[in-house]
Symmetry: C2
Subunit: 456 residues, 2 copies
């Protein structure tokens, strides 16, 4: 059957677009999540047009072969992992920016465009594509849509979902569907566009996207504030956000993270702090806004408040923040990165709870957080070669999600469910919610060929 | 059967919640759209709790009776119109604001809360619920969610969809489903919350909503600019929006609308202008922003640019804009209000096209537009007692939608499809899109009991 499959795929795809060399296919087996099962796919396809994607899906439907859509495989939940019987459908060659329109404030792109490439292209026109996952230099727009990615600027500008106006999607059976629009507003029928955002490749293959842009804001100015406890830092976040401020960034790094970044990249961050809060404004007068927020931090017990001197210092602090997850990986060789989001009023509770869980399991857990949104990434550091420690890592990971739900939060703020959090999704949604989610999946993919085994 | 129905409904609802008096039920037959079929419902129910709504839906499912959810019935597409065999399920008695939380920046409300009441309640806490349809003093949050309502401030703050974080929904069979979250971010499973926004009561009954709030912005300052042609005004809108400006409002009234408002409310607007552009900023320095925009208008040929002197004058201009649709209704007794949204670069084309359509059919069509978003309301004025004129009104209404689609737009920017635009929805979506929309409907409402005959 595999040779039938390959022959049939080749019949509608150009030379080189169908890869079966095991040395290459093996490298398409997984994204960046630990602990998620993955096998090399039967075949990798690298289409360059929507028609070629349609051919792949028609073939898959005829032969009943599962398909796993893939972008840059920078995901953190195993959502792009493959099984031995599947087609890995990589969209990275569909990487053209088709249009940037400053009057309509939209960009039209293929799914394989790298986030940073789009950001740069629109900036050249004085425009801004906000969603900025820390993986922005490698991840694709298709993957960002698949996972509804967030980033540092979400606290002011929202997540990917807010910027997807319209999509072209190849359905499981190979038909092409247009959803949404090129206009700023529109309510013609159900919002299937938003339904696709965050669907982790399980409803269809995105082959084109119309994205909303904003005017480029002034450059942001950054401030760092050191706190003696994570609770105090969490309380300061609440003061800032309920005080009417609209920072363009409000991030938190705990001591473990600060130290990891220092030893990974010699950043010279203050090692004695328990929690480093990083705030930024891109307003007309960012210095004034930072002064107000700095005063709130001092009133909230910050031991040090250091505004960046200039753009370069601001960029350095941002860079330190962006390196956090990678730096934490060096601590013990492997990490499990959690993604619990709580109402921001419960941020302190969550952070303290994670400390307690780390203590109980004798593990290092660094927490880096999009604090302004209550979205935390407790990152469990462990030695994957040590089965006992690995077990404790997984247990603590789960306990953190349980704590998040208890505090009125969600198991995933931006990284998605994938295979990593399937059981937890069911818990969060409850039986009725889960059943309706499955009904939607069934409506789009009755043969369960699109990324099976993910989400549910 | 009707007496069985009424008895069964009464068995689970308090006294007074089930209304069969024909004099009263007749008043629940329709919303504010012209030309849409409507019959008094078999019975009106006015539940006060989610449990009571569940009882209604369980009864409806058992007896296979259609249900039409209703808010204030201020809709403009017949989406809340009833048929003789149905239950009108009015949510207006579920009107409690359950929570306003300044730290988490959320409000939790029942569906019957009036938009203006919520706005005032959150403003008292220094917060802002942006979606502001011009009907805000009567329409309900449930209806706003049902239609994904927009308003004047969308150009800066987006539509209702952007502010709905979580929902509790009673499904067709009476089960209660929670979707979404209380947190700022979250990607756990498909975004069914957004799927419900704009679904016009056809997927379930919203009984509770978690809404996102923002800090209250500074008061806005308004400017009016007069243009000699709608094309010049449209071009100025493009200059403003591609010039990096972020107005809190950018509205356009054509001459017909200006005159209608003057004769309705003696507003003293400039009658000689072909197009009146109204821009507002709620920034830190609105006067500076208005000066920049005023200069762009002058460069674009504006004959007059008049910044409001103060808050009171600003409020007057806003009030004039908000009265537009009501004022146009006085011109000939009846209106059909269109809602075409085009890419803003095509605004001039749309406005000129509408003028041509009005000329061809010898009709008065006033255009008022959320110009910054390209969302226009060409409003056909006619005498409903004149069958010939009514026929021409309907024809021109349809030609306007055809023109909108031709210009790359959508048939509805914010008022929805209802019964008024069903055939047009099919045109806009195309066969594949329509089929998938129906599949989603089927997944949620297999017996087709929820607002049947709307949308499709
Ligand atoms: C160092 C690091 C930092 C990160 N920081 C962030 C962060 O700040 N915020 C954040 O949200 N995430 C972050 N991530 C996670 C990850 O980068 C994002 O989820 C990203 O959006 C994935 O994009 P990708 O192109 O790598 O997609 P992949 O990982 O390849 O795929 C992700 C999902 O999308 C689906 N998919 C991909 N392309 C398509 C398509 N065309 N059509 C349909 N489905 C498709 C896949 O099937 C899969 O389910 C980080 C990851 C790393 C490694
Ligand atoms: C003068 C005037 C000005 C207007 N200006 C604007 C404007 O600027 N922008 C704009 O977008 N609209 C505008 N509208 C249209 C209308 O006011 C809005 O669509 C409004 O959101 C409708 O709210 P409602 O409570 O009246 O809902 P209804 O008209 O009663 O219902 C609207 C839809 O929502 C459904 N629905 C209602 N409640 C629920 C519920 N709890 N659960 C599920 N479904 C439900 C109904 O079935 C129906 O499909 C205007 C109307 C008028 C008369």
């Amino acid at each position: 059957m595999s040779s039938t499959l390959v022959d049939r795929l080749r019949a509608g795809l150009p030379d080189g677009a169908v890869v079966t060399d095991p040395a290459i296919t093996a490298s398409y087996a997984n994204d960046m999540a630990s602990f998620c099962p993955a096998e090399p796919p039967a075949v990798v396809v690298l289409p360059r047009t929507a028609e070629e994607v349609q051919h792949v899906m028609r073939t898959a439907t005829e032969l009943r072969v599962p398909v796993v859509p893939q972008g840059a495989r920078s995901g953190l939940s195993g959502a792009a992992n493959t099984s031995a019987d599947c087609i890995a459908l990589s969209l990275v060659k569909m990487d053209r920016i088709l249009e940037v329109n400053p009057v309509d404030r939209i960009a039209v792109v293929e799914p394989g465009v790298i986030n940073a490439d789009l950001s740069k292209a629109v900036l050249a026109e004085g425009l801004f594509y906000p969603p900025d996952p820390s993986s922005w230099e490698m991840c694709t727009i298709g993957g960002n849509i698949g996972t509804a990615s967030g980033g540092l600027c979400c606290v002011k500008y929202g997540v990917t979902a807010e910027y997807v106006l319209g999509l072209e999607v190849v359905l499981a059976d190979g038909r092409l569907m247009s959803t949404g629009r090129r206009t700023a507003k529109g309510v013609a029928g159900y919002d299937l566009t938003r339904l696709f955002v965050g669907s982790e490749g399980s409803l269809g293959i995105v082959v084109k996207a119309v994205l909303a842009l904003r005017p480029a804001p002034p450059p942001q100015l950054v401030l760092a504030a050191e706190f003696d406890s994570v609770r105090a830092a969490g309380a300061a976040v609440c003061e800032i956000m309920s005080g009417g401020h609209v920072p363009s960034m409000l991030e938190l790094m705990d001591r473990t993270t600060v130290r990891a970044v220092n030893s990974f990249a010699q950043m010279g961050l203050p090692e004695s702090t328990e929690a480093l809060l990083i705030a930024a404004f891109d307003t007309a007068d960012p210095a004034a806004d930072l002064a107000a927020v700095g005063a709130l931090c001092e009133a909230g017990g910050a031991s040090q408040v250091v505004p960046a001197e200039d753009q370069a210092e601001s960029e350095l602090l941002l860079q330190a923040r962006r390196l956090s997850l990678t730096a934490l990986e060096q601590v013990k060789g492997t990490t499990m990165i959690d993604d619990v989001c709580v109402p921001r009023s419960r941020l302190g509770d969550l952070m303290e709870g994670v400390e307690a869980i780390a203590g109980k399991h004798a593990l290092t857990i660094g927490v880096v957080a999009h604090a302004g949104d209550g979205n935390t990434h407790p990152t469990v550091c462990f030695d994957a070669a040590d089965p006992e420690e690995s077990r404790r890592a997984r247990e603590s990971f789960d306990e953190i999600m349980a704590l998040g739900l208890e505090l009125g939060g969600t198991i995933t703020g931006e990284h998605g469910v994938g295979v990593l959090k399937k059981e937890w999704l069911a818990r969060e949604l409850g039986p009725v919610g889960l059943e309706m989610q499955r009904a939607v999946k069934q409506a789009f993919d009755p043969l369960n060929l699109l990324n099976p085994g993910k989400l549910f």
